[in-house]
């Protein structure tokens, strides 16, 4: 496992800004629109996603590279990953409940929502597939960084969205646009702004 600092930074930048999970890759839209009405719940959801994403990218990487690939059953990827994620979420929920009630209170209600959050499954599949930089699967550390940073990118978008939506509560939105449509327009404008990050590279 060759740890290359530069590539890790570049992966992070890409995951948070350039290929932001929500605003560029269209992953995790359901929680993005569902949980962005209040800032407090957006932060809770964001934290839960970062946590599960990190653990999920580690575990799915290990399973993929040490079980599926050696036994040439990588076509079972989808089934295995979704099972792993579902049980992982369950496990996390139980562990939190037992050992950290405070954290459980903060994140608990968001955990069940995460199972069907395609961002988690997405990061697992992305880590297993060819990446944008080297056209090869990520190493373990790279997967880990990608997992954390994708979660942070998701949280960033979610928190910004929640702030804006709380402000929009006070605005006079035309009736047909109220609710989800205006949230989509907001997300679109956010995505336009995030285009500004495209091509960001600290090592060129």
């Amino acid at each position: 496992m060759n740890i290359d600092f530069i590539s890790l930074v570049q992966i992070s930048i890409a995951a948070v800004f350039i290929n932001n999970f929500v605003l560029s890759r269209f992953l995790g839209l359901c929680p993005f629109f569902g949980v962005s009405k209040k800032l407090s719940s957006a932060v809770g959801m964001g934290m839960a996603v970062i946590f599960v994403m990190t653990v999920a990218s580690m575990i799915t990487w290990i399973i993929f590279h040490y079980l599926l690939v050696p036994y040439e059953v990588d076509y079972l990827r989808t089934i295995v990953f979704i099972l792993v994620i579902a049980s992982l979420v369950q496990l996390v929920e139980m562990t939190l409940q037992k050992f950290s009630p405070v954290l459980y209170d903060a994140l608990g209600i968001y955990l069940p929502l995460i199972t069907t959050n395609c961002a988690i499954m997405g990061v697992a599949v992305l880590n297993a597939g060819k990446n944008d930089f080297t056209q090869e699967p990520y190493s373990f550390i790279e997967s880990l960084v990608n997992g954390i940073m994708s979660g942070i990118g998701f949280t960033l978008a979610l928190v910004l969205m929640a702030g804006i939506r709380e402000k929009l509560e006070l605005a006079n939105i035309p009736r047909p646009l109220q609710g989800l449509p205006i949230a989509f327009v907001t997300a679109g404008l956010m995505a336009i702004a995030f285009l500004g990050f495209s091509g960001l590279n600290f090592f060129k």
Binding site: I18, I164, A171, N172, V185, S198, G199, L200
Partner: protein, 365 residues
């Protein structure tokens, strides 16, 4: 003495109000843009006039149609905000952009960025910048070609020989929007300083020394968006607005100051106190859309924080992002995206920079 009493009006206090109104503010900003407009017409001749007219007319028409036909409310053209959006959008467009594209951008700016949210005061991103970003994402190629102002073409300046070097191929694919603007990337500057590369002086000039480049930038004799080229005209307008208390000093100074400081620290010459090292940041704050952005777009009331501390964070944030995108980003110019990105953070900034209220200090201590 008349003993009869007519009905008196009742209202909550206060019963006197400042004469400043929303239209007067918007009109003042429009007035403050007149010097820059004059400079643009002088430099780009008919092109500037046509683009500005198209943007203004299509912005006004969009606003009027939306309010009249979709919302069925009395006209809002009287608040001059659509006029201002039109002018600012035009100022952010390259001179050779086909006018119909400018009209498309205007429709987006007014229709989506402004009225989808309920009109003036409810939009969370600057409509003009949203319009520009929409156009950049839609028509990458025409939005990123900056020709020499007609004024200089007439005097023999051309871009022949330089253009291929600067304009990177523009692909219409998903993630490959890039192009060139007059603002050279940092690597360009360092290259220029060391290898006498022509990239330093952007598309138009075969000059490499700052003595010649800086005055040109200051007075606007460079290629660029039609309203952004003349720093002097923009500063003149901004001083007027500052005098009228319409823009504060915090956002522009911190914005420009941050860009200056960061470009000075990362000036690429390897030293800090040589004249070159000091001229790089001067060049950077005069070039591109920074003056227009910092003085007129980042100070947009609706889309910047209301709290004093928030304004400072906003200014510094814009500066950092502009520097980052200019130096490391895929676009040579980062002003409009920086301001758009910071617009997104305004609700959060406002929320967390609430001024400490009178009397709360002791209670908490």
């Amino acid at each position: 003495m008349s003993s009869e009493q007519k009905l008196l009006h009742i209202s909550t206090s206060p019963h006197v109000k400042h004469i400043e109104t929303v239209p007067s503010i918007m009109l003042c900003v429009c007035l403050a843009l007149i010097p820059a407009f004059a400079a643009s017409v002088y430099l780009f001749r008919l092109k500037a006039l046509v683009l500005t007219a198209v943007c203004v007319i299509s912005c006004l028409a969009t606003e009027w149609s939306i309010v009249r036909f979709l919302l069925k409310k009395p006209s809002t053209l009287g608040d001059f905000s659509a006029l201002l959006t039109g002018i600012l959008l035009a100022f952010n467009l390259p001179p050779d952009l086909p006018p119909w594209m400018a009209a498309v951008g205007s429709v987006f700016a007014i229709g989506v960025a402004k009225w989808a949210f309920g009109g003036l005061g409810h939009n969370f991103v600057n409509p003009a910048l949203a319009g520009r970003a929409f156009l950049t994402a839609s028509y990458a190629a025409p939005m990123t070609v900056f020709n020499v102002p007609d004024f200089w073409k007439a005097r023999g300046w051309t871009i022949s020989g330089l253009s291929e070097k600067i304009i990177r191929p523009v692909s219409d694919t998903l993630d490959g929007i890039s192009g060139a603007t007059p603002l050279p990337t940092f690597s360009g500057i360092t290259e220029a300083l060391h290898a006498e590369s022509a990239r330093l002086v952007d598309l138009q000039f075969h000059i490499i020394d700052f003595q010649e480049a800086l005055p040109r930038l200051f007075f606007g004799n460079v290629g660029g968006c039609i309203g952004e080229t003349s720093a002097a005209a923009l500063i003149l307008g901004a001083i007027f607005l500052w005098y009228k208390h319409i823009i504060g000093i915090r956002v522009p100074v911190l914005y420009i100051g941050t860009v200056f400081l960061l470009t000075w620290l990362f000036n690429g010459t390897g030293s800090f106190f040589t004249s070159e090292a000091l001229l790089v940041p001067v060049y950077q704050i005069l070039a591109g859309g920074l003056m227009l952005g910092a003085l007129f777009m980042a100070t947009d009331m609706v889309t910047s924080p209301v709290t004093p501390k928030g304004k400072m964070i906003f200014g510094v944030g814009c500066g950092i992002l502009t520097f980052t995108i200019r130096k490391f980003g895929g676009y040579p110019e980062g002003v409009s995206y920086s301001i758009l990105l910071m617009n997104l953070t305004v609700p959060l900034i406002d929320r967390y920079t609430r001024p400490k209220i009178y009397g709360k200090v002791k209670k908490n201590a």
